[in-house]
Symmetry: C2
Subunit: 361 residues, 2 copies
DNA sequence: ATGCGGAAAGAAAGCGCTTGCTGTACGCCT
DNA sequence: AGGCGTACAGCAAGCGCTTTCTTTCCGCAT
């Protein structure tokens, strides 16, 4: 059916071994022969069978990237930059295809996709998104990663807590986002504006990112004498609503916060998408931003800068992270010493935060 | 190195053929033998080599999806729904891995990725986004698609103009978005509000979608006696600015429109992302939305409903389209008669459009 | 008893490629 | 002129599976 190496060889009057060598260019072939072969390849419009090649050469043209959901801009940006880095320019050898796997945050799906990628003998796997803090599942994931790693698959963690494989050579290559520092600076910004009653809508409880951001927020409060032991921090729990990483979670959580009537003058959202819901809920209740309540997000997704008012948030250079993860998984750059590189975050102060009404009066 | 079929066979005391049959369940195997094999598989934690299987069985576990850029929510939503449909639940047989290819709208990149997918003998390919109207390139693309199709790769066009392969069995399976109708209804909405000077920011000139939307817009104008031949339509060209599908294009185009000083009371953007830029530019110039100028978009991306004011736009059910494309490319549903299914669009009237100031006065 | 059909398992031939090893022919040295 | 090194090119053995064809073995009817 399809044109094979043998067809090309026959046409060029050489053996298939020679054709293979011309194609891969890793063995001396006389100029005239090479030309003849190349002409035959062109005439027959030959395209190598990647599966046969992979089988014979024990290589793979696939790189997997595990994300919660590509439709979420957070992951979309990472995946896009990764694919651009890993992908090919003009069929350049070494360029890989990017397999996107939506895990929906489910550890089972994560495991399933890891198995599938192992089955395809993927050249590399990038895991993104906060890890799930469930020891049962993370054990299984670690076991799978250990096998993958042992069989030569390069593994990169992006925005996940570092991980060390059992009986292996040091920790996995990791790109860690400075969630703690970013959240801390964000809350400090609100405190410096004069806010004292700051609501906080968390992400999903089981994700590691959620904890890190919340911890940063609390660290800022404590540094200002508003820790849990202090008088000012007495009802700190009342200011926190546990949500999720989607818009509706922000909406609902905000209504809950307002219902509690704890006098918030600012709300920090788990991320920008949540902040969208927070803003929607506030408007729904007739509250102005930042007039009545200031709002801040996290991630600095593309639409945040153009929101009205523009959203104060913490920028994570997601594209840079994706590109870097791509280079790491391709082995184009060497992992940082210790395996962990921290991606710094930057506070973006914009129109959605302002001094509380009381301070302005 | 890795565990192979032979290892499992040896452990179970059977031939590798039997193991293969147990794994694929397409051949009678005695219950006791089956059990023994399954135990061996579990004990050895065997994972089949997908490449070897693909080579022997002439199948593939890969489905490719060509998008402009996954980071763009428009494509992200399609890709996400597609991958969910095509992907696996618990390694269910038949589940495929989704290869995402960012073409950046470049026909060369498109061709390169098609070759790569052919090399991997992909089971299916979904092409999204408006096609590029350049005959030279589209010819090459058509040729590649014809080969892919001939070799059994299922091809689905999603949001692209229908295409018929030379000497083939009818047109390719196509999911066409009703861009024309949507744009027309959108402009009619503005006209019915009383707008007569409606600016229009187009998408990239070479994309087919751009033309379809613009045509719909013009059709609405003509139907209201504002066609190019009429007095009202005399300077129609002045109301149109050619842009692109990104936020900055909308920003720049709007400034240009204002510079022309043609008295627009409403601006229709090529899509929601562009509308974001349009709004930003208007605010930048101190104009209120919709007080001074109404703004409308296209696509109804997730953030549009929560924008402030909420964006009037035309909804394309992108997730539904992606899911349907997934089912088609998997052969789970049969193509519509004639090959072309039209995805209907729906006008979403929201806060960013209102009667012009003059009409309200 | 003999023979026969069918169910289950094995042997082995590929699938299309890569690559170590084996030839072969030429140019050069002594 | 003989021998040897070098530069190419071919042979053939896999890579790990699937699948066709055979074989084996049993139970049953004759």
């Amino acid at each position: 059916m399809a044109v094979t190496l043998a067809d090309v060889a026959a046409r060029a009057g050489v053996s298939s071994a020679t054709v293979s060598r011309v194609l891969n260019g890793n063995y001396p072939v006389a100029g005239s022969t090479r030309e003849r072969v190349q002409r035959a390849v062109a005439e027959l419009d030959y395209v190598v069978n990647g599966q046969a090649r992979a089988l014979a050469a024990a290589t793979s043209d696939l790189v997997g990237v595990l994300v919660n959901d590509v439709a979420d801009p957070f992951f979309g940006l990472i995946a896009s930059a990764l694919q651009a880095e890993v992908g090919v320019g003009a069929a350049e050898p070494g360029g890989k295809l990017t397999v996107v796997c939506n895990t929906g945050g489910s550890p089972e799906a994560e495991l399933t996709y890891l198995t599938l990628l192992e089955r395809q003998r993927a050249a590399g796997v990038v895991l993104t998104g906060g890890a799930v803090d469930s020891s049962a599942h993370s054990e299984a994931v670690v076991a799978r990663l250990a096998r993958l790693s042992a069989s030569g698959t390069r593994i990169v963690l992006c925005g996940r807590p570092p991980l060390t494989l059992p009986g292996d050579s040091g920790p996995l290559t990791t790109l860690a986002f400075d969630n703690h520092g970013g959240a801390r600076r964000l809350t400090e910004h609100l405190l410096s504006l004069g806010h004292r009653r700051i609501g906080y809508v968390t992400g999903p409880a089981e994700r590691s990112t959620t904890g890190h951001r919340l911890a940063g927020h609390r660290a800022a409060l404590e540094a200002h004498g508003m820790g849990p032991g202090t008088e000012a921090g007495a009802d700190a729990d009342q200011l926190i609503v546990h949500g999720g990483y989607d818009r509706d979670a922000g909406f609902d959580a905000t209504l809950e916060l307002l219902r509690r009537d704890v006098g918030v003058t600012a709300i920090v959202a788990a991320n920008d998408t949540v902040a969208l819901g927070v803003c929607a809920a506030l408007r729904d209740r007739g509250l102005s931003i930042p007039g009545d309540v200031s709002v801040a997000g996290f991630d600095d997704l593309p639409f945040s800068a153009d929101a009205s008012p523009a959203l104060t948030t913490v920028r994570i250079p997601l594209q840079e992270a994706g590109a870097r993860a791509g280079r790491l998984v391709m082995g184009r750059i060497t992992p940082p010493p210790g395996g962990v590189a921290t991606i710094t975050t930057e506070l973006m102060v914009r129109g959605s935060t302002a001094p509380p009404a009381a301070a302005r009066a």
